[in-house]
Symmetry: C2
Subunit: 345 residues, 2 copies
């Protein structure tokens, strides 16, 4: 091809360059690569992609307007590791020495005495009642700002013993990709967790890209008042407003979201009602359950593992059967996830 100089005058080149630069984002969007690279090409990935296509295509009978595109994610066992013990429980246990410093009267009182002993076996045997006593002094009584500062400090340094990594690094890469993929398709993504709403909100935006108001969780009341200098404060009270587990999940979704999810992710019986409620809506809806079946890369527990259910993340055989019967999708960590954590090579 011969180029004649007048054909490519400086003006034409500048104009063409400007057009090219301005069109770059469009070109990028067209040449888009797989939005879910950590997912294997199995039925779970297909179900997610199909749901997004059918609800965002204006010509589809299942089209959902952007303002009604709601996606909810359980957290523990669904978006990050919940084994061998919920991260928030670790937080409470590890905060006990600090609390005892300001409240020395607790030092020789159970269950605090056991926690301070550092005896892991004894700590693992603490009852639900003991844990509630520990929660009462570590989760309530302080201002919401103090609580946030305490959690931020802890979560930026505390590590999971198996991987020796921050808990926030133990989020599942495939789920982070799904969240981004859904948001790119104008879905609003929410965490709907049995964990503490205030706890998860401290890191949800940084870790999941989910702002505090899109975190629904177990929540206690707060009391408005004033500190000694007259500045308004909100104090965390041991008064349960929402137990965001089981039936509490759709109830919490109604309270804080006010619309039914189009797609919902869970991993245990605590998510059953949320998935059931999601699927009972009109049009196309998708419910998914994460199955922990990869002891090598993460953990294996629940049905079809030949292993008993563990205390946490109870994915029972009954739940598995219900999922199969109602066409909920099962996400096999072993088969559906090429990569589990971002730090994997």
């Amino acid at each position: 091809m011969s180029l004649k100089p007048p054909f490519f005058s400086r003006r034409v080149l500048l104009a063409a360059f400007a057009v090219f630069t301005l069109l770059l984002p469009c070109i990028g969007a067209r040449a888009q690569t797989d939005p879910l690279p950590s997912w294997g090409d199995g039925p779970a990935k297909k179900a997610i992609v199909d749901l997004v296509k059918t609800t965002t295509d204006k010509a589809s009978p299942h089209f959902v307007p952007p303002e009604a595109r709601i996606a909810t994610f359980d957290q523990d066992g669904t978006t990050w590791v919940e084994h061998p013990i919920y991260t928030q429980v670790v937080y409470c246990l590890e905060l006990v020495p600090t609390v005892v410093k300001t409240r020395p009267e607790l030092k020789n009182v159970e269950p605090f005495k056991t926690v301070l002993s550092g005896d892991r076996e004894a700590i693992a045997k603490l009852s639900m009642k003991d844990l509630e006593k520990i929660a009462a002094v570590t989760l309530f009584g302080m201002t919401v700002d103090e609580f946030r500062a305490d959690v931020e400090k802890w979560i930026s340094t505390a590590k999971h013993p198996r991987w020796d990594r921050l808990y926030t690094e133990l989020t599942y890469q495939p789920m982070l990709e799904v969240m981004r993929y859904l948001r790119a398709n104008d879905f609003k993504t929410y965490i709907v967790t049995g964990g503490g709403q205030d706890f998860v909100r401290t890191y949800s935006y940084r870790v999941y890209g989910i702002p505090p108001d899109q975190v629904v969780g177990t929540a206690g009341g707060v009391k408005y008042g004033y500190d000694k200098s007259g500045k308004p404060i909100l104090t965390k009270e041991p008064r349960l407003l929402l137990n965001d587990n089981f039936a509490g999940k759709p109830e919490g979704i109604h309270l804080e979201i006010g619309a039914r999810p189009v797609i919902a992710f869970g991993n245990s019986t605590g998510d059953r009602e949320m998935l059931e409620y999601t699927k009972a809506g009109d049009g196309a809806r998708l419910a998914l359950l994460v199955l922990h079946d990869d002891a090598a890369r993460e953990y294996a527990y629940g049905p079809a593992q030949g292993l008993p259910d563990t205390k946490v993340g109870t994915f029972t055989q009954a739940l598995y059967d219900e999922a199969k019967k109602n066409a909920w999708s099962i996400i096999s960590m072993k088969n559906d996830w090429r990569k589990i954590f971002a730090f994997e090579r």
Copy 2:
């Protein structure tokens, strides 16, 4: 200026046209007209525009990242007419005949008998206890879907007696402009109302462009269960979770938003704590109170009117003094709003 044909070759023209078309949105943004045309150039408008500028300019010491740009609006008396009686109370009263049809045992029982009589004077004298009895049968006991359908049906036809217009037409045009202006500057806008959360959510997106999850209001619990066909339902229970008035406003903001507002609008003592909490935050914060001082175009009540406070929208002299002392902005409907309703010429 002489135009030489080769200078404007077809290629140059096409390229220039393409560039021009692609740049149109930018040009439009620069030539942008006043985003608040219904506002007079007074101190209230200036305070709003200054707040937006200082919190969205990256070079400003008061810059707020987009995810923390929270704007909250009270509803009754702040974004729509609350006189002579709250719209939701009108809804409850007007629903009584329908309720009595299915529950005839209420027909001769007070306060339902009075409501059915249609005697306006007697109805106006109903006590708070009477109104609670009416609320109990009109706001609770049905599923959330049934309630939504009832409200949608009513609000699409019921009219305000003074203007003979739909209640949703009696929203304040200047406030709708502020909401759009804030959203255009990446603020997230919320209704924080003493009214029923479920009630306001039925029309909030259509009327204010605010989706259900950004409506915080007085809220009762719901109970998850199943209808006769086994379909999951959520039933509204007469169990108060959040009284979103006074101290309940910052408490509700914490529960459902989880972050402190940067800017908050109210009009009565019920908004006092929300404004106080907003202003107590770091950096630039703005609190504003709507003063109803325009009897000709809307109503005049509250301080500086020489009129006694009315039952609703109690803007007391004490609140006015507190606002002045703490540099909260007063929005005078008479002086600050060129236009109150969209239907005005």
